[in-house]
Amino acid sequence: MIIHVNIVTVLSYILAVLSAIIVGFIVKLPLLPERPIRYSFTISIIFPTTVIALGLSAMVFELGWGGIMVGVITGILSALISKYLLEKILPEPTEPVEGES
């Protein structure tokens, strides 16, 4: 068994995701990307905000800062990164592929 997790860590991950979703709604991120979702670069609450919240909180927990409040703050930061920073540092590509409809 290699699962390294206790109840506080699980709660922290859940709260990180929940706070990211709540702040995502407050800063008016869309809930889902537009269809077809698999080709959409739209930044939404479900993707990539929750992935950023989980990844960032895992990094923070592994660096030694644990706890429920850290999870909540990481979730809030993740939603703010998604809304205000992500499009600037990782923008949508603009050049179309040859032969693509």
Binding site: I2, V51, V97
Partner: protein, 167 residues
């Protein structure tokens, strides 16, 4: 469990994980970048399938579920579950966006292999066997025979309704 049997089971699980997720996410439908287009048409010229060629080109040109699967396995080995899987998903997402890819396939691959590794640990398959297994799985797609592998990938794409409309 015997190491060789564990690696074979891990290879099969990894292969199914990344091929099914990548196909479902539309990798065989169209090339995401010019490099994937060139590879797809090159594979077709050598007797392969265009859709399978686009799949092979796309996984070369950006980190899709294949990269998510191997990075997820490595992270679960080095960091543990679930932190390793979550960190791998975030890193693959950043890599995807840098390579003009939306990032759904890569992150799904990293998260799903984390779940698979967690479940497989109950029958005695450790994450390091998934690292070897995934390397073997990717060799069957990219390292042995491109045209034959592309024809198999094309058939899977047809079955899953993701065959390319480009010619």
């Amino acid at each position: 469990m015997n190491e060789i049997i564990g690696i074979i089971i891990a290879a099969v699980l990894s292969w199914a994980n990344f091929v099914l997720i990548d196909t479902w996410m539309g990798l065989p439908e169209k090339p995401g970048v010019k490099g994937a287009d060139v590879i797809g048409r090159g594979v077709k010229k050598r007797g392969g399938d265009l859709s399978g060629g686009f799949f092979q080109g796309n996984i070369v040109c950006s980190p899709d579920a294949s990269a998510g699967t191997i990075l997820g396995a490595i992270s679960c080995y080095t960091i543990g579950i679930p932190a390793g899987g979550f960190i791998a998903a975030l890193l693959v997402f950043i890599g995807n966006r840098l390579c003009a890819d939306p990032g759904y396939a890569g992150t799904s691959g990293a998260l799903s292999i984390m779940v698979i590794i967690a479940l497989a640990s109950f029958i005695g398959i450790p994450p390091e066997q998934f690292i070897v297994g995934m390397l073997l799985a990717i060799v069957t797609i990219q390292g042995i025979d491109h045209p034959r592998a592309s024809r198999l990938l094309g058939k899977i794409a047809k079955r899953m309704g993701r065959y390319t409309e480009l010619t």
